[in-house]
Amino acid sequence: MERIIQGMPPSEVVAQLRKADGYYITNTARDLSQSDFKNRILLHTDMLAAPSRERAGYFSLEITGGASVHVDILRKQVDPFLKLELLREKMPKTMFQTLCRGVNLFGYRPYPQNVIRFTVREFAKYVDVWRTFDFLNHIPNMQAVFEEVAKAGKINEPCICFSTGPEHTDDFYVGKVKDILDVTGTDIILCIKNHGGLGTPQRIGQLVNAIKQSYPDLPIHYHGHNTDGNDIGRIAAAILNGASIIDASDSSMTGYYGPPPSLTVIQTMKSLGYTAIGLDEDAVIETSEVIRDQRQYYAAFESQIKGFQPTVQIHKLPGGAMGSSLEQAAKGGFLDKMPDILHKELPRVQKELGNYWSVTPGSQILWTTAVANVQGGERYGNPSGDLRNLLLGKYGPFPFYQPEEWIYEKVLGADWKKVMEEEGGMDEIEDMDLDHERASLREKIGHEPTDQQLVLYLQHPNDAVNFFKFEEKFGKVYVLPPSIFLHQGKFNVGTTLSFTDHYGKEHVIEIGPSMVNEGGESNVYLNVDHHQRIYSFVPEAKAGVAAAATVLSKEEIQTLAKNGDIRAPFAGNICEISVKEGQEVAAGEQVAMMEAMKMQTPVVSVIAGIVTTISVKVGDAVKPGAKIAKVDIDE
């Protein structure tokens, strides 16, 4: 059997999968980066790996989607479209794959239909295989993506999100597959999305078999995570029961929560008589050798806790969320409470909230709620805006059962029934005026934006504009290797850094001395292409006075709130300011929206009055107790 080449029509790809006498491997580099390196694997490393990954003959390379689009512009400072364009030049034959969160696209909240379609159209110019899921397995949430992918002539790979529990039966999943096929037709690949790496090999084998019994012609792509160290077992069971494609990645970069090593899969399956179709083992090995040396520069992004976590079967956190959850715990100083949160509270919250699939954005809602329940003292006492929306049904209907009434009451208030009647159910999200958005982006960046820039802006308005401004100031920085871009500490004087820029010009930069002048200004001397340049930095303290806010206790914050002094209740970013100075507010009215762990929580005024001061702006990172606004009591 031959490998599948980028550009083949979807029907041909599916036909080839149906008659395959072995299995294919998708290199899930994106999921590896997200699960084990907090999404920071740079394009530079992927470019190093590109030639041998191309020769390796993978079914596809998952290299975009999930949280990566956001992190690309937020922390890697690379244009997600340019990334695909550059990789395509080096990898003409390999199909590129994405992970799309249906109506939530690559973000955390539902987008309007016209934004979804526009985004899919633009990405479909580069992306061949579209793995699409919905955390409630609510198929209408994926429909717009299905349609646009089909229109673009690309391959739809709808998911059934997998979990374990009394409700998660074969019959349930086979029913979901039917619902999907009713919408998409049969020229698709079905993905079993086991984002937690849950269940035993036996359970996965049984599920694949059940689907194959009902739909023998449906190619199945098994996606798993190695959090418990046993995904090779599940992969083997999936293939033995008829899965056509499985996910794995390069061994030298594999960690604890992402995909297992592809070479181990190949070796395991060979002994069972199964061939990885189109795979060149030497190229698979070579890729690992080429990028092995880069791993050291990503150390800061590897998990705070080392070792596999077989307890994932209890807490069910998806591999993609393990790293960020542990990071939040380490930064928030509650790493010691993790056993309580992970093994007791999180499973309890899951059951209480309907036992749906713990995956974005549902996993963030579960996690944030569990942390708040343990940290805040009172369970459901401090609900996030997104939990409220979940209960209101904004994301879709609960698949198995609804939470108990007391939870509704806690989250929505005493008159929760009325609130449900008035606000409950999925909103018809109005289309955005794209011309208007384009004009506002034009104003922000000072020139006509491209369609690609508009796509990024529609998804992450603040972060996209910051990224465009970053690029204007610092250029195309993907050319810098992680040893420079992620460098920790100062460089030694005399260090020579060399790289080739985006336009093919080579540059040499030598680190010179740094000096602080009388005014406290630091001057950094660099020798840029043999010419001396000086960069000045004003003292940190001066620049960051506003950021140095006192950390107040929850009680102190509540006391201040009663006097109209509204403080940040937790550490996060200001993502919206809902009032203007001089505006009247009612008690309970929202003055700002804060975001932490991708979850949005409204900040409200507990008193009625007039807003006299607003102390923050959109995009500010604030600590607990930071001043947000001042409201004078209406006399």
């Binding site: 400072q77 800061a300 810098l480 100062k490 820029d501 010009k505 540059h507 950094v524 660099l526 960069y535």
Partner: protein, 480 residues
Amino acid sequence: MKKKILVANRGEIAIRIMRAIQELDYEAVAVYETPDKDSRHIRLASEAVLLGDGPRCDYLNIDKIIKAAKHSGACAIHPGYGFLAENPDFAKACEEAGIIFIGPTSEVISNLGNKVIARKIMAEAGIPMVPGTPNLSMGEDGVQEALTFAGKYGYPIMLKATCGGGGRGIRLIESDEQMRKEIPVARAEAKAAFNDDSVYLEKVVINPKHVEVQIIADKEGTTIHLGTRDCSIQRRNQKLIEIAPSMIGDKELLEKICQTAVKAAKASNYTNAGTVEFLIDKDFNYYFMEINTRVQVEHTVTEMITGIDIVRTQIKLALGKPLSFTQDDIQLRGHAIEMRINAEDPQADFMPEGGKTVSLYRSPGGYGVRLDGFVYQGYTIPQVYDSLLVKLTVHGFTWSETVSRVRRCLQNFDIAGPKTTIPFYLNIVEDPDFIKGDFNTSFLDTHPQLFEYKETSNEAEKLSKLIAEIHHHGTNPYAF
């Protein structure tokens, strides 16, 4: 005591003039407005006078400049180009104050500045002109005159403000209906801009070449020319690239044009340096357009091919000396190209980049290369003046050598901070039509591919800025 000459201008032309003054062993007096306090033209002068906070209004303030000249003891004023250079009131004020105005007399400036009077003088002297009207009568009569003219010559027709210039106060009319609508609008605009609501019509020459002749005349009536320049490469009627001599192959035609220019200068009693502009249509008919009564931005290309220092000559003539060379002494040697390096973004309709700081400035040099500029590394471009940073002028023995030289110089420039016209010019020097010397005023419109380029020159500068941040903070604040 050394003679002092005041330069009533700013930027590169002020420096150009000061160099000539200093070479004559006189002292140069600079003037400036507050936004120009860091301009290099101040530092090169022997003394500098602050006119006021501006912007622009103080460079245009006749009283303040005359006062500055008297106060500093300057015996003469060179107006440069723009600002007061072609304002007859300024020349007159100098004459009345007993200060030598370096340029023609106020009467000549006044006559030639009025398009209709100028056309009348030229018509009487038998200079070929684009068919046109005198000033249109006011009201409906004027409209009828316009429609009659249109009936005779056909559209398109240019509706021009009599006192306009420098590409301002011109509009293209394509129908009777539009003519009726636009005449009152044009009058109102002309009134606001030039304080004179006279307008007239001219037949449009479609896609002409813009060819001009540098002339010099002394007070004794000797008038000579310094050959032709081609300034066809323009955007919105503003010149970008100028060459000398014109690339028209018919040498006899060029000689005829030069002689016509001399005749036109004589007809208007011209003294000092000036430029006679012509339009040349596709059949090589040429038409007088106007006489510019000042030193041109592009005078450098003529200097390169003739060896004559035009500004030095201007000063000497104004001080009463006769021309020290004859027409026979003038030999045109090789080719010259001038490119205006502007702080503009050609890809954004030449949007000016004022307000930005030049964080890196490296310029080319070498054989046949001349730079007339005023920026330096660390200079912040004021937002209130024009965007010209430096004029690159190169000289070569053959046209192709000259094109190669200008390309090399553009590549040798390293300017970081503002966007410039350099990448756009780099496309022009690779364009087959430019390389052939085949272009007219439609060049930019018919070559849209010239606008397709990537901003590349600043990449090392930008990346090193990030490396400096990583080094300074000990971590990358944009990655963690």
